[in-house]
Subunit: 357 residues, 2 copies
């Protein structure tokens, strides 16, 4: 049985390699480094004779891990990818069924690509705060909330998530826990340090990465544009213009607006912004029994108000609800869905229209 | 002050980019996937109406994360890199001072390169067992034990670790905690699954990765060779031939041999094996006050006995203590030291001599 499983996986893997780069990509430079973070030190004097005594010793944590690749003849402005909750930079790499993710697709399109693990997650695990990790069987909660499959692992009808055990297995394995307390300010500071190091860039966020995405754009003017795939954490509003809390049957509760000074908020009006939302998101103002749909109903509703606020203050924000432009079946990981090349084409077009490529 | 720091880091980073690939590298394919691991399920029936009830739901964990790159005109047998304790695949990427690590160096030399995060660490953080993470200031313990610097952050005299605050900062930030209980069997099973998927490969381990390295080679005949940089976890011996526990002043205690059946052990005699140890490791049979040196004294001593045992049983194992071949100053992260190209040349030569390239 074990050998059978290995063979199945091997066949799947071999099959998947047929989805490699359409053409080889020549890389000028690649590497990794840590951005931002801080050092803490326990009071006292470090003593060689007591190596396990923390007194006087230091710990470095709360930085972002970044893997970058620079293709030859690269376009000028790099793409910086920030993942969502329970994820790492893996989100943007190979898709669960072994196709090219946005990392490879945009390398092929001659963009410089920076893939981030946010502080206290993945390879950026060293944290200045502690936590307890209690593994809990919650795959079905997540896959349902992501509009991929139900509590019996049946795919949503017509969903763009790939079929089969291999893809489901790989998708669930890419989740990874927090290694310290979750803190949008810590994430934002590390992202701002990253933009301080590399200069101008286009910030591409997913889900919970949306919130520190807006915050980074307000904090560092090197952020030349924000592209947000189903931002789910929260939305920024200028004080006095925030909408009321939106009631939802989501297990994650109601959705509250995040409020900033007008001056802070208006920094978001200086750059092009685009938000993409997938399929199976209902409209309306009332909570629904289908909590996984309702979770996204309120987010899409508030995203529309956010876009209105940015544009009312003179900005350039766009929201694309994919079914409204004839693209159906996308789940919460739309950039990894079966039609992710079509999604990449949409982004390429937008970057071109905004002279960002 | 903050701006000053950012500028310093930016300058360091820009300086570091002069260490990019000597020539651009053309990549045929690259991507990532998870190998091995398991699914656990809570008894009961998963119920949409109680999304936070774990009953009937699953969790996928304990797999290895793997990022691979295949250059054009690649050599046949890939290199698989397994990091050491408190580390992730980052160990093998860019060095703390921004030079090419073994990932880039061996890509340039046309090897297929697979970089692993072991289960319950880094991007492979999803674990089926829990843990509590208590950040503790222990940088100086680690840097001293690694023969890099002392409890006042002074570099060891003549050490090959790069100078300066930037390199020290980056080095400490790349440490990352376990997200579940540490288990060599879990690591070995995932590595064996990886070799089951990709076929023949050369396993390159560091430090605590050495132990699951020997175990993987005994478990999966696709491991065509093992290259161990300062294996620190433990050494394999056939039952009845194991040496006595070695007394040490190391804060990690005495060093015990790991015992296997003769049949298991002799699988290590079917493949070429090489071990590299750096500088500042004393000889002798008595514990020393300098515990950081003593920690490696017993490991080097037992490594020599391991090599003898493999060769006594008909194997092909070599131990290179670098000062004995005229290479001085290497610390525990020798493959990232200032002379790491020289270290890579040694490995290239050995691979060629054993017809593995």
């Amino acid at each position: 049985m074990k050998n059978f499983l290995l063979t199945t996986i091997a066949l799947n893997f071999l099959a998947s390699t047929s989805f490699a780069f359409n053409n080889p990509v020549t890389i000028q430079d690649q590497g990794s480094f840590f951005a931002g973070g801080k050092m803490i030190q326990t009071p006292g004097v470090a003593n060689f004779s007591e190596p396990r005594n923390p007194a006087g010793q230091t710990l470095h944590g709360d930085s972002a891990y970044v893997f970058y690749q620079i293709p030859v003849n690269a376009r000028k402005i790099p793409l910086i990818f920030l993942h969502g909750y329970g994820q790492s930079g893996k989100s943007w790499e190979t898709t669960p069924d072994g196709r090219d993710g946005f990392q490879n697709i945009f390398l092929e399109r001659r963009f410089k690509v920076y893939i981030v693990d946010q502080p206290r997650r993945g390879r950026a695990g060293n944290s200045t705060t502690g936590t307890t990790i209690n593994p809990t069987t919650m795959d079905q909660l997540w896959a349902t909330n992501f509009r991929i499959s139900d509590f019996q692992n049946n795919l949503f009808p017509g969903v763009q998530f790939p079929e089969g055990d291999y893809a489901r297995d790989q998708f669930f394995k890419q989740m990874t826990p927090d290694t310290g307390s979750y803190d949008n300010k810590v994430i934002t500071d590390s992202m701002s340090a990253l933009f301080g190091t590399i200069g101008d860039g286009i910030l591409i966020t997913h889900s919970a990465g949306g919130d520190p995405g807006w915050m980074t754009a307000m904090q560092n003017s090197n952020v030349r544009a924000v592209v947000a795939y189903e931002p789910g954490g929260g939305f920024a509003f200028p004080i006095g213009e925030e909408p009321a809390e939106m009631e939802s049957s989501s297990p994650f509760g109601n959705l509250k607006p995040n409020v900033y000074s007008v001056e802070q908020f208006e920094r978001l009006t200086k750059i092009p912004i685009i938000l993409y939302f997938g399929d199976n998101i209902p409209s309306g103002d009332k909570p629904l029994e289908r909590w996984e749909l309702d979770n996204w109903r309120v987010r899409l509703n508030m995203a529309r108000l956010f876009v209105d606020a940015v544009n009312r203050h003179g900005g350039n924000a766009t929201l694309i609800h994919l079914p409204e432009v004839g693209i159906y079946g996308n789940d919460h990981f739309l950039f990894a869905d079966r039609n992710n090349v079509e999604l990449a084409d949409l982004l390429s077009d937008w970057l071109r229209e905004n002279q960002l490529d």
